[in-house]
């Protein structure tokens, strides 16, 4: 689960990391009120869950109430890379002497947590990593997950940080790692951590992604996982326990695995346009596939549906019953092609056929999608 910047900043603050004075606003008037309390100039930051927000126009400065009105009105209700801006973070504008990058992630290949620090923070940090690797230092933490201040100090010395800064920077690194441990973070980042003219530090940005599989054991309050999803269909997917991603096309998809779902959208995308990505994982029941049919049909203008499921851990014959029940109850007329192979496949095919579903019995998804294409064309 990705947290919004304002949520992550609150958590950073509780864990002792210095953060700017700030407030959250959903309307221009709320933004005016917050800015009045903080004092101008202020920074307005669109709260959308994506990287590259600054370059996409989601961060503005306002030096007066008039400027704030214009900027806040323009930002609220706009879209940034397709995501609606529903909230603005209004922040004090701090004076910048230097920008540091401080990040934590999981190195999937070595299976270890890693801390990354750079003296050149800011939006071009990934470029710096390529062009000036000496300005970046990283440290892999071992499987005890213990990370000590002396290790942070050594990391900073490698970057040539002067001794007078090392203690205060180390404090922030350790506090950030405390957040990582307490919140089961997969990503935890401050970019930039600003060095003030007086040498003080302040985190003017906050990124935090919590491991979904560990949320139930995090002992600190977290925002609701489902409510925060802006897209109604994706939210419904989370509610029924499947992964649904809303796309721009008109061919509905139900698949029983992420890899199979991705391959299906890739192949559909060559001649037609997928309306969604949906994968059930290993929990198929008749009821679940009935709900999946309801969900994908919430999207207006579907021309056809492709069902691609394997019976390994999933009882696909049960799933087929749910699909057919939906077709019959809703008198559904658009073409449905199903490829369903594995345990109890013959039984599954019979059930699908009883509901008028076109059944493909060969393994290659491409052949099933060609069948779909023959039925509905490019559209």
């Amino acid at each position: 689960m990705r947290l919004h910047e304002y949520e992550a900043l609150d958590i950073f603050e509780k864990n002792g990391i210095p953060v700017p004075r700030r407030g959250i606003a959903s309307t221009m008037h709320e933004a005016l009120h917050v800015a009045g309390e903080i004092g101008y100039p202020v920074i307005l930051k669109a709260q959308v869950l994506l990287g590259g927000r600054g370059l996409a126009g989601g961060i503005k400065t306002a030096s007066s109430p008039d400027e704030l009105k214009d900027e806040a009105e323009a930002l609220l209700g706009s879209d940034i890379k397709g995501l609606p801006v529903l909230k603005l973070l209004v922040c004090e504008k701090v004076e910048i002497a230097k920008e540091i990058y401080l990040g934590f992630t999981i190195d999937g290949y070595s299976g270890k947590p890693v801390i990354v620090v750079s003296t050149e923070g800011g939006i071009f940090i990934e470029e710096t990593a390529r062009t000036a690797p000496e300005k970046i230092a990283s440290y892999h933490i071992d499987s005890s997950f213990a990370f000590y201040p002396y290790q942070a100090r050594a990391l900073l010395r490698r970057l040539g940080i002067s001794q007078k800064h090392i203690t205060s920077w180390t404090d922030v690194i350790i506090q950030l790692y405390n957040v990582v441990m307490r919140y089961e973070a997969l990503i935890c980042e401050i970019n930039p951590l600003v060095v003030l003219p007086n040498g003080g530090l302040i985190a003017v940005d906050a990124v935090l992604e919590v491991d979904d599989s560990a949320i139930t054991r995090v002992r600190f309050p977290l925002p609701d996982r489902v409510e925060r999803i802006d897209n109604a269909l994706e939210r419904r997917g989370r509610e029924i326990g499947v992964t649904y991603v809303d796309l721009n096309g008109d061919i509905g998809l139900i698949s029983s695995g992420a890899g199979l779902g991705m391959a299906s959208t890739d192949i559909i995308g060559e001649k037609m346009k997928p309306a969604n990505f949906l994968e059930t994982g290993g929990g198929i029941t008749a009821d679940l596939l009935y709900k999946c049919m309801e969900l994908i049909m919430m999207k207006p203008g579907l021309r056809a549906i492709f069902i691609n499921v394997y019976g390994g851990i999933n009882p696909i014959h049960e799933g087929a019953k749910g699909v057919v029940r939906y077709i019959q109850e809703h008198n559904l007329k658009i073409p449905i092609v199903a490829k369903a192979l594995g345990n109890r496949q013959e039984e599954t095919w019979e059930i699908f056929r009883s509901g008028g579903v076109h059944v493909v019995t060969e393994a290659a998804t491409e052949k099933a999608i060609n069948r779909l294409y023959e039925l509905v064309g490019r559209g």
Binding site: I106, V116, D142, E189, E270, F277, G282, G312
Partner: protein
């Protein structure tokens, strides 16, 4: 021959008394796997699918001579059960469940590597040696014996590739699911190495997907060590890219994990890149694989 499993593999099923554990024990036995028992704490002394259930892995190993284990344990209990299994001396472990916390997986991975245990998963369909046996959930109807190895990050795509091969009379030596999580217990290159050394395997198919750097790292191994032909398919070309936040991952990897980047690395290593699963047929014909 095969990799990982052979005639002397004796399997216990952990979580055998659960709904999925008992069904899958049935399918594994049905496929001819030497399943010798099960473990569920507090259910020792019962019988499931004709198999004795034990309270501890240690006891199961002592009584049955088991040397391999497959997990159908609820995610929250997997870490504990895994450590117990490693400490009981089991050298091959397959973790089928999904939604295991990444921190737990990192602990499991480090412990397994330290103790010389070969573990697969989490979120893996397991291992299947066609006509011989399987550990995990792979549906038997998709496979036939032969000489092509398959390694897949995705479970369902491992079935898809095996199915396409089987329909075209190309059999498989062993099919291995390496798991779909961001951290897995064994990396792709380690499994490739087993296939390279296996007398029963003539060529290998790698089924990858967008994200991470397993395929990029495996490309290095292919270039340095593989003498057998390798074909690779990467799912996720038209899939929506995650709205990525944070830079640390990209900085550490120095690679973006995109489909294009993986294609480039694999091609440079001499592997054949398949644009779609069905193209695997041409590749098998070109290399005269059976």
């Amino acid at each position: 021959m095969s990799i990982l499993m052979n005639d002397s593999t004796r399997v216990i099923v952990q979580g055998i008394t659960g709904r999925i554990g008992s069904i899958q024990a049935h399918w594994m036995l049905d496929y001819g796997t030497k399943v010798v028992g099960g473990v569920t704490p507090d259910k020792g002394g019962t019988i499931v699918e004709g198999l004795p259930v034990f309270n501890s892995v240690h006891e199961a190993v002592k009584e049955t001579g088991a040397n391999a284990s497959v997990f159908f344990v609820p995610a929250a209990f997997v870490l504990d059960a895994f450590m117990e299994t490693v400490d009981a001396g089991v050298k091959l472990i397959v973790i089928v469940p999904e939604h295991i916390p990444v921190r737990d997986v990192m602990k499991m991975r480090n412990y397994a590597l330290e103790k010389g245990v070969f573990a697969l998963g989490p979120t893996t369909p397991g291992i299947l040696v066609p006509g011989k046996g399987k550990m995990g959930i792979m549906p038997a109807s998709m496979f036939r014996p032969g000489r092509v190895g398959v390694i897949s990050r995705s479970g369902t795509l491992s079935y898809e590739f095996a199915g396409i091969l089987s329909e075209n009379n190309v059999g498989q030596s062993t099919v291995v699911g390496m798991g779909a999580d961001p951290v897995v217990l064994r990396n792709l290159a380690d499994i490739l190495e087993l296939f390279e050394e296996d007398d029963g395997t003539d060529a290998v198919i790698v089924v990858g997907e967008v994200g991470g750097e397993q395929e990029e790292k495996a490309a290095g191994f292919i270039a340095r060590r593989m003498t057998k032909p390798v074909a690779a398919y990467i799912a996720g070309r038209y899939s929506p890219q995650g709205k990525r936040m944070g830079h640390a991952g990209a900085i550490v990897r120095g690679a973006s994990g995109t489909v294009a980047g993986k294609h480039e690395a694999l091609k440079a290593a001499g592997a054949t890149v398949l644009e779609s699963p069905i193209h695997v047929i041409e590749w098998t014909l070109k290399h005269n694989l059976k």
